[in-house]
């Protein structure tokens, strides 16, 4: 026991003597989580608050284009800039000066009106309401095309959401026009009868509840756990470097001649580096709770979640330390350990679903993700922070994380024993 305590003390001293490294260890994850949350939150806000400039070429100058203008303004999402020529907007958007443009075709209102009138008259004629000789049936109406221009650098997801928004708006205008046409055909007096064109079906998002409080997902609830986990797993870099340094300094050779087992040496490192992970976790939580509101970011809600979140951090830390011990045991130089460790954490984070949700990944990647410790950790954190899960819900994931720690540590011990067998 005394040897373990001495090992812990030594590791602690080595850690605090490297002030630069220690600062990086604690400050960089904080910088990371603040930066990512600020970016994500601001892009979310930009969609909600900051207006996106949109170029419009109105060749229609009719009721439809008026409705499009009104619809865009009502959405409070776009700042409408009217341009005259399609060639001009094409150049501006493709150069990246503006992100999108809409070109409304000529006679859109007139032709839509005609088309709807023809359809409505046709329907009513079937019921014997109208004459079969109207102007609308005689004219050929060509399909109309609303042309959209997007900045090529625009992200596909953003493009898709804009497209669907405009499509929705035009469908609404089309529906309202149909209602209006029926109304005009069925009644001479506009005020006598009106179709109710209000939405009949609405959507209501039901969020999980913790006791009686509703848990509203926000960028803090997403980012703090995800990037805390990322920071926790980054411990494999300093830990493996610490172990490789011992080999190059010769202290590891001395330890091998000492009557001390490799597991005691690893246990000393585990305690100290796990403590670093937990301090990282608490710092992340503190900035989520206290600094985020100051930066006008959503506050991290930890009410009733702190203990299960701590458990997740503890077991994620163990898994990360286990991986670091294995890398430090196998690596022969810092040149092997540092780049491999850093890249591997990024790969694990990608597999774990930190950037792209696992359900959106291809099947093979989803399977790979299911055996990634960062995925288990992230799932457990999301269970706590977003799904209001308790200890029972996180139990499968933390068991997997603990098993991962045991397996990696055991492999380290076996590898070291075989390699240095005398």
């Amino acid at each position: 026991m005394y040897k373990l305590w001495a090992s812990i003390h030594k590791e602690f001293l080595l850690l605090i003597r490297d002030l630069g490294g220690l600062t990086i260890l604690f400050v960089m994850p904080l910088v990371l989580v603040i930066t990512i949350t600020l970016i994500q939150d601001s892009s979310f806000k930009s969609v909600q608050q900051t207006k996106i400039p949109i170029l419009i070429v109105d060749n229609d100058k009719g009721m439809i284009s008026e409705n499009i203008f009104e619809g865009l303004r009502n959405q409070k999402l776009f700042e409408v800039i009217v341009k005259e020529k399609e060639s001009e907007v094409e150049k501006l958007v493709f150069k990246g000066t503006y992100q999108l443009a809409i070109v409304i075709p000529k006679n859109l209102s007139k032709d839509l009106e005609l088309k709807i009138s023809r359809n409505v008259e046709g329907v009513l004629a079937g019921f014997g309401f109208e004459d079969d000789e109207t102007s609308a049936t005689k004219i050929e109406i060509s399909t109309k095309e609303v042309r959209l221009y997007f900045d090529p650098a625009l992200q596909p997801s953003f493009k898709t959401s804009i497209k669907s928004g405009i499509d929705k708006m035009i469908s609404k205008i089309e529906t309202e026009s149909i209602y209006k046409a029926f109304q005009e055909q069925l009644s001479d007096d506009d005020s006598s009868f009106t179709f109710n064109s209000e939405k009949f079906i609405t959507f209501n998002e039901i969020t999980p509840k913790l006791k009686e409080d509703e848990v509203l997902p926000n960028s803090a609830q997403h980012n703090v756990p995800a990037w805390t986990l990322f920071a926790i797993f980054f411990i494999i870099v300093p830990l493996s470097i610490n172990m490789v340094k011992e080999k190059s300094q010769g202290t590891f050779v001395r330890l091998r001649t000492n009557p001390v087992s490799y597991s005691i040496v690893l246990a000393g490192k585990t305690v100290v580096f796990l403590s670093v992970c937990l301090i990282q976790f608490f710092l992340m939580v503190l900035i989520g709770v206290y600094l985020f509101p100051v930066l006008e970011l959503p506050t991290l809600s930890v009410s009733g979640k702190l203990f299960p979140a701590f458990i997740v951090a503890l077991f994620s830390g163990l898994a990360a330390v286990g991986l670091g011990l294995l890398l430090g045991t196998v690596a022969k130089s810092q040149e092997q350990a540092a780049p491999f460790g850093a890249t591997f954490v990024v790969v694990l984070a990608a597999l774990g679903g930190v950037w792209v949700p696992v359900f959106m990944m291809p099947t093979i990647m989803q399977f790979t993700s299911s055996v990634s410790p960062m995925n288990w950790g992230l799932n457990a954190f999301y269970d706590v922070f977003l799904r209001s899960g308790g200890l029972l819900e996180i139990l499968p994931d933390i068991l997997l994380l603990f098993l991962f720690f045991l397996v990696t540590t055991l492999i380290s011990i076996i590898y070291n024993t075989k390699k240095n067998a005398v």
């Binding site: 005394y2 030594k10 300094q249 010769g250 001395r254 001649t257 000492n258 001390v260 240095n420 005398v422």
Partner: protein, 247 residues
């Protein structure tokens, strides 16, 4: 004290034995010098005796304990002073010694007193709380030695303990080793400083190509070789003047 029988070591991929069928008996209380040119097998021999590498064949006992079945006990009996400074540069001299002493099971007052004692003997007490990274080569060598003797081993292996140090540090190290030997520690030592070995060792063995080619008391070896004035003459006569560069 140390009984070596037919000890051999051939490294993976090598086409020759670094140590070949080596037999040697080192008595309790001896200062035994293992001398030889570069690549002769000195460090390999010491590494096997300190359980750092596995012999290809053969065996040895220390204090009648066979190395295969008594690894833990043997580790407590031996001390090794490696060629490189096996110390943590960012820790102080005291912290390094405290840690390595603890690994031998020393703790509390005993550990503190021993660290104090050896630092004082080596003239380093005033630097106890300074980091190793600011120490000179000679100071590091002395701390390296203390880290290996805190547990008062029965047998001490030293691999080039005075390489790269000034005369003053070398004298302190040699004097202290003589003192340890007087107190009962058997010393096995490798060196390229033949003059140092001649005066320091009670017996030496010259090894070349993994085999002992000559052994005995330095004075007897010199007197039994015509035209030899010192151990270096004997050494050159038996190992030749050619360079020993091989990998």
């Amino acid at each position: 004290m140390l009984h070596i029988q037919k000890l051999s070591k051939k490294y993976k991929g090598a086409d020759y034995f670094s140590v070949s069928n080596l037999d040697l008996e080192i008595l309790k209380g001896e200062i035994f010098g293992v001398l030889g040119p570069n690549g002769a097998g000195k460090t390999t021999l010491i590494s096997m005796l300190c359980s750092l590498i596995k012999p290809t064949s053969g065996t040895f006992t220390i204090n009648n304990l066979d190395y295969t079945n008594n690894k833990k006990e043997l580790k407590q009996l031996i001390g090794i002073v490696p060629q490189e400074y096996a110390l943590y540069p960012s820790l102080t001299a005291y912290e390094n010694l405290s840690y390595f002493g603890s690994m031998y099971g020393l703790q509390g007052k005993v550990l503190k007193e021993r660290i104090h004692l050896y630092l004082e003997k080596m003239g380093l007490l005033e630097f106890a709380n300074k980091k190793i990274e600011i120490f000179s080569g000679g100071m590091k060598r002395r701390i390296n030695l203390i880290a290996s003797i805190l547990h008062q081993p029965k047998i001490l292996f030293l691999d080039e303990p005075t390489v790269g140090v000034d005369v003053q540090s070398k004298n302190v190290i040699i004097d202290h080793l003589k003192q340890l030997n007087k107190e009962g520690t058997t010393i096995v030592y490798t060196s390229h400083h033949l003059n140092e070995a001649e005066h320091f060792c009670s017996r030496v063995a010259i090894i070349d190509n993994g085999k002992i080619i000559l052994k005995g008391k330095p004075k007897e070896l010199i007197s039994s070789n015509e035209k030899a004035h010192n151990l270096e003459d004997v050494f050159i006569r038996y190992t030749g003047k050619e360079l020993r560069d091989h990998v």
